[in-house]
């Protein structure tokens, strides 16, 4: 038991010397195609969010705006590890996971722009949307609460003997909520196919992980406290994350009970658009930006593995177009309609007649 907060910038061996981008791990067993898909999903998140941030600053996205910069690999990896019948509850930083499930750029922008035909019909904003038809649960802001909800989904699969898993994410900060304890404990006792991906991005809003908990090695805590196997993985390495989450998903699906993965990264933007994150040491940010950017790391790995620059540039261009087209499509969508505001409060409106 370590009571010393782990150093925030480092979670295992020091990074290799040098100053260049650290490529993702080599993983010949993971098909090239999958690796390219990971890159594509990560890029989709990056470019969508970059575009959205601009729109936000122009005042065209109402409310607030959150990105998952620096964490794109985790959502992408989780999304690709799931099968079509699995379900997932992503949070704010996992736009790539939505894309992996088939949510489109236009869907996303329709939500950001609060359009009538968006996934929440303008009723909720930001990343607070799901896509029930694609097994994606809409984010609920109350941190932690989606843990027991996904455990319940996994329980349904177990009850019916279906080889499906329910996956959810939470952050280092949300790790402190009672719901996460109750949910993980329940998952263990009921032995359900739930997978938990903990995004340890070193901060909860302005609070570093070491002020959220004593032992910041979340994987160690989850194993020790809840007896749930938990692999700690480099969350800026899409390949490593894919391997770790894939194994967790496989084991859960195989009836081996709940599994967890702690993905270590850095939240490279402020908590939301209004937050300049001045509390994050700039060397830490620079280090991650220069050497541990998940998009660059994966691209570097693919380059090292012989994928031609041109192919990667083309991928980038394709994604960029997709974002532009998705946005254009979303902008053509009608605004939310106040006359419909009371529709759907109930699935079965009670008749008093």
């Amino acid at each position: 038991m370590s009571t010393e907060p782990a150093s925030e910038t480092q979670w295992r061996e020091p990074d290799p010397p040098g100053s260049g981008v650290i490529p993702c791990v080599e993983a010949p067993a993971i098909p090239r195609e999958t690796q390219l898909e990971l890159l594509q999903l990560g890029l989709l998140q990056r470019l969508t969010e970059d575009r959205a941030m601009l729109l936000y600053r122009q005042g065209r996205i109402p409310g607030s705006y959150y990105t998952g910069r620096g964490q794109e690999a985790v959502g992408a990896a989780a999304g690709l590890c799931l099968g079509p019948d699995d379900v997932v509850a992503p949070l704010n930083r996992e736009l790539s996971c939505h894309f992996a499930r088939g949510v489109t750029v236009a869907d996303v922008f329709r939500n950001f722009l609060a359009r009538a035909t968006g996934p929440t019909r303008g009723r909720d904003g930001n990343m607070h949307f799901g896509m029930p038809a694609r097994g994606v649960f809409p984010l609920v802001s109350m941190l932690g609460v989606l843990c027991p909800v996904s455990v319940g989904a996994a329980l349904a699969f177990k009850r019916r003997g279906e080889p499906r898993v329910a996956l959810t994410f939470w952050g280092d900060g949300a790790m402190c909520t009672g719901d996460v304890h109750e949910g993980m404990n329940l998952a263990g006792v009921l032995d359900v196919p739930a997978v938990f991906v903990i995004q340890n991005n070193q901060y909860a809003y302005s609070t570093p992980t070491g002020r959220e908990m004593v032992n910041t090695n979340i994987a160690e805590r989850i194993e020790g406290g809840w007896s749930i196997p938990c692999q700690r993985v480099d969350g800026t390495d899409a390949i490593a994350a894919y391997a770790a989450i894939g194994e967790a998903v496989r084991r859960a699906r195989d009836g081996d009970g709940p599994h967890a993965v702690e993905a270590f990264s850095l939240r490279m933007h402020g908590h939301a658009a209004h937050d300049d994150a001045s509390y994050v040491p700039s060397e830490l940010l620079d280090h991650f930006a220069n050497r541990r950017d998940p998009i660059k790391r994966l691209r570097k790995r693919l380059e090292l593995d012989g994928v031609p620059q041109s192919e990667l540039d083309e991928l980038h261009a394709r994604v960029s177009d997709e974002v532009a087209e998705g946005l254009a499509e979303a902008e053509r969508a009608p605004p939310a309609d106040p006359d419909t505001i009371q529709d759907g409060v109930y699935a079965m409106p009670p008749s008093h007649a």
Partner: protein, 324 residues
């Protein structure tokens, strides 16, 4: 048909629903072989197995959240709280997830939360309260509270059939006190519909839960005395049957709202709000609220008896109303 108790009607409804629909299962503390603190699930684990009557750890937020997740996947879970008081521990998933998700996304949550509420069993501040008021008014939730054996069955079946989260407040004081014939498996009490339990012309009592029996008992005497009081059992507290309340007032021109929840909690607020907005031209006297003072439920028999509405206190309140 044999006589059963209110509690047995609840058990029968659970049993019938589980026989008819594989998707129905239960989560709660000690509900398995033990049968729950009041025996509501006694025997169900033997019939349906512990995979359908699932004992959970003590984690109300956790298993209410899990019920919502299972419902998301098309199951129809029923959650038992040991005492309604502990609903404060499951508050967040109910109001944040249960209430808002369909409106936001179209996901349905056919979840029933059974919450044994109410006093008269010397439960004190943590085992006798009436917390329904926290949920009355919350868009997306439904709140029901049976006051008869038939509704104990019928409302529970309807709650299980319902695609929205329903909080089912069952009154501990009625568990063994009320008896009635065993409802047929087809019995349903429509959600959202009040019932005129007893017709009358001089005043209306709007009530629910244990108030129904109390209103009947108290007015048996009054009604003999030459006045005739109508009793409206709300049955569904939210969203409630405004029409039924107003049309009874239209008939009687006097109204008393009776509840066991402390006077500034419970369903009184929404009912009184309706009355003050829409019964202005119907009333010949101010509306009356008969409910306990605003304190927690006291434990001592001397205190609890003074706290809870009784035949005497209700009769006095009615006399007051009728003599205005």
């Amino acid at each position: 048909m044999s006589e059963i108790t209110y509690l047995e009607a609840i058990r029968a409804a659970l049993e019938d629903a589980m026989h008819e629909d594989e998707r129905v299962f239960m989560l709660g503390e000690d509900i398995g072989h033990f049968g729950g603190p009041f025996g509501a699930t006694k025997g169900l684990a033997e019939t349906f197995g512990t995979d359908r009557i699932i004992d959970t750890p003590i984690s109300e937020e956790g298993f209410v959240g899990a019920a919502l997740g299972a419902a998301w996947m098309g199951e129809r879970p029923i959650v038992e709280l040991q005492f309604a008081d502990f609903i404060s521990c499951a508050f967040d998933p109910i109001v944040s997830v249960g209430a808002k998700t369909h409106w936001r996304s179209g996901i349905r949550f056919p979840v029933v939360i059974r919450a044994p509420f109410g006093g008269g069993i010397r439960g004190g501040p943590f085992h006798a309260s009436c917390p329904e008021g926290w949920f009355v008014g919350v868009a997306g939730l439904k709140v029901v509270a049976p006051g008869t054996v038939e509704d104990a069955y019928g409302l529970l079946r309807s709650s299980i059939d319902d695609d929205d989260p329903v909080i089912y407040f069952e009154h501990k004081g009625l568990y063994r006190r009320l008896k009635g014939s065993r409802p047929t498996p087809a019995t349903r009490t429509p959600i959202g519909k009040a019932r005129v339990v007893q017709a009358g012309s001089d005043a209306t009592i709007v009530t629910y839960g244990a108030g129904v029996d109390l209103a009947r008992t108290a007015t048996a005497a009054t009604n003999g005395n030459g006045s005739s009081v109508e009793v409206v059992d709300l049955r569904t507290l939210w969203p409630f049957d405004e029409e039924a309340v107003l049309s009874s007032i239209d008939k009687t021109s006097r109204v008393l709202v009776l509840q066991e929840a402390a006077r500034s909690t419970g369903a009184a607020g929404v009912v009184m709000s309706l009355i003050s907005q829409h019964a202005f031209e119907l009333l010949d006297a101010p509306a009356k609220l008969h409910a306990p003072v605003d304190t927690p439920v006291p434990f001592a028999p001397e205190l609890e008896d003074a706290y809870l509405p009784s035949v005497d206190s209700l009769t006095a309140a009615l006399d007051d109303l009728l003599s205005y």
